[in-house]
């Protein structure tokens, strides 16, 4: 069963929108992509959208979004003003940021 903490907002968001800035094929970016997919599949099935932006191909996107390190995860929805940088080796951190608790299977 999925548990969701009631956030400060009147309703919990129905849709999670992630934008992950990666640096081509490099290892940390791949790891982050995998981890993010796993989290979304497990906790937010059918409720998520993941955008991948390759800064090696699009440096202007990196500039406008102030992305200097890869991988960087930006959470567009819910509109949390946080970036998470790194290969996401600790999925708990993302869950905490999103206000999600681990499911029983993980404990």
């Amino acid at each position: 069963m999925k548990k969701e903490r009631i956030s400060d907002k009147p309703r919990s968001p129905a849709h999670y929108h992630f934008r992950l800035f990666v640096a081509g094929d490099e290892i940390n970016s791949r790891k982050a992509q995998e981890t993010l997919h796993q989290i979304c599949t497990r906790y937010l099935p059918g409720q998520h959208k993941i955008e991948i932006i390759d800064v090696l191909k699009d440096y202007k996107a990196a500039l406008t979004n102030e992305i200097f390190f890869a991988p960087t995860l930006v959470i567009l929805s819910p509109p949390i003003q946080t970036k998470i940088v790194g290969s996401l080796n600790d999925p708990q951190k993302i869950l905490d940021v999103l206000g999600l608790a681990k499911t029983k299977e993980d404990e």
């Binding site: 940390n28 990196a62 500039l63």
Partner: protein, 481 residues
């Protein structure tokens, strides 16, 4: 500022070796030390402790480049862009305008505190941005400031090495002339990091700040410059309000202007003793114990040449300008009108107030602004209060050299301590620069004290070998027959 055309200077590095191209830094004095500038399209490393001036040098390199037709990128890992722009502004460098014109691009490679870090990361986006911008701007120069800070972002030494490699490879292919700054001994394991950079860079410059006799002084030295000759000494420099200023390097006598025409000392009988007077562009030393009349002798000359419309810079290390003016009036020398007219500038300075370099730069700037025909230094013995004997010697040699290159006459006073030592009288080591030595003394008679004057040295002319008595009367300096 007028736009200068970019000059790529070549330098022959030895028999049969290909000359390497260089990019001028346009930083005052540095290009001479580097024999043209930094190696073009290669990497230069600036190493120094915090506060040594690395970031300023980096900023000045891109700034002056941008003003001379070479756009540049500044990637800072330590300071915020806001702080960089503010610091640049204190030197009168308008970064925002250059940024708007696309001649300068600033990038901040920092992780703000509110960012969450989870796992390993890579610098590749920075590389991608600067690569894209470099093409867009047709950039020629790049500075990466505080690379040691950049690499604290990584946990594993293996990762550091990998990212470093990529960075340097990219730089090598980019065709940009790069300047990287870092602190020494920062990153553990220190040797790996340092060795790597030192061997990759074609040129390494060390910046240092020392405290000598309670006065702080900055030095730069070139540790390495592959494929080029370079100045191998330590070079003092200051960070002035216009940026980095290095001190002019030591004497090249070939550049001294030859003696000019004869000029009167203001005392006809002294002129006769000298075989005609002083020479324009020469260096005259007036030595003697306190109270023997050195300052009056100087001032008599000042009055004479100012009357003829010439300009004098009088550097007074012992008396205040007001005291000086007052003290010579009793002997009939009136300097105030010339000060008011602007012919005479009396600069009072306390030797111990600042380092040698600051004194030197200040005086050099004054001379270049005022363009006097003559400069007085009263007294060189007081200069020893500037951080010691060596420092004062350094200061005098460089300043006198500067004056001789411009054909400016210098008159120095030297307070001696009563020894009859020739070395002391002729100025403790600067005697090679001194062309004429006039010695003033007292002699105790039975009922009176007599003042004596004699010429100990007079290059370029025959001179009297007599010891003559003189008096100081209310109408001036009078040599007795």
């Amino acid at each position: 500022m007028a736009k200068k055309k970019e000059v790529l200077k070549s330098s022959m590095s030895g028999k049969g070796r290909r000359a390497i191209k260089k990019i001028p830094t346009y930083i005052n004095g540095l290009d001479e030390i580097l024999n043209g500038g930094l190696p073009a399209e290669r990497t230069t490393l600036i190493v120094g402790e915090p506060g040594s001036g690395k970031t300023v040098m980096g900023m000045e390199f891109v700034y002056r480049g941008a003003n001379n037709g070479e756009s540049g990128i500044f990637l800072g890992f330590e300071e915020s862009l806001k702080s960089l722009r503010q610091n640049a502004f204190t030197f009168g460098w308008d970064f925002p305008s250059l940024e708007k014109e696309g001649r300068l691009f600033l990038l901040e490679g920092r992780l703000p505190p509110e960012i969450i870090v989870s796992g390993q990361l890579s610098l590749k986006p920075l590389l991608s941005i600067i690569s894209g911008k470099a093409k867009e701007m047709k950039a020629k120069r790049i500075v990466m400031d505080a690379l040691d800070v950049a690499f604290r972002l990584f946990d594993e030494p293996v990762q550091v090495r990998a990212e470093l490699h990529q960075l340097l490879e990219w730089l090598a292919k980019s065709g940009l002339t790069s300047l990287l700054t870092l602190k020494p001994r920062e990153y553990p394991p220190g040797s790996l990091f340092q060795d790597f950079f030192y061997s990759m860079a074609d040129c390494v410059i060390n910046l240092d700040t020392k405290i000598l006799n309670q006065v702080s002084t900055r030095r730069l030295w070139v540790a390495k410059y592959r494929g080029s000759s370079f100045g191998r000494n330590e070079y003092p420099f200051i960070i002035s309000e216009k940026g980095i200023r290095t001190i002019p390097i030591t004497c090249f006598e070939l550049r001294h202007k030859p003696f000019g025409q004869r000029i009167s000392s203001g005392i006809p009988s002294l002129d006769a003793m000298l075989g005609g007077g002083y020479f324009q562009s020469s260096c005259i030393l007036l030595a003697g114990e306190p109270g023997t009349g050195k300052t009056l002798l100087c001032s008599t000359f000042v009055q004479k040449v100012c009357q003829a419309g010439e300009k004098v810079l009088y550097v007074s290390f012992e008396e205040s300008p007001a005291a000086l003016i007052h003290n010579v009036t009793s002997a009939g020398v009136f300097l105030e009108p010339f000060e008011q007219a602007g012919n005479l500038k009396i600069m009072g300075a306390m030797p111990e107030a600042t380092g040698v370099e600051e004194h030197l730069i200040k005086l050099i700037d004054l001379v270049e602004e005022m363009k006097p025909q003559h400069v007085i230094i009263d007294a060189i013995s007081a200069c020893e209060r500037m951080a010691g004997k060596e420092a004062s010697f350094d200061f005098l040699m460089r300043f006198l050299n500067f004056l001789k290159e411009r054909g400016i006459t210098s008159i120095l006073t030297n307070q001696t301590t009563g020894t009859k030592s020739q070395i002391e009288i002729s100025g403790n080591g600067i005697s090679s620069m001194v062309d004429t030595v006039i010695f003033l003394s007292y002699i105790q008679g039975e009922k009176e004290i007599n003042r004596l004057i004699q010429i100990l040295k007079c290059r370029g002319s025959g001179h009297s070998n007599q010891i003559r008595k003189f008096m100081i009367k209310d109408d001036g300096f009078k040599i007795l027959d």
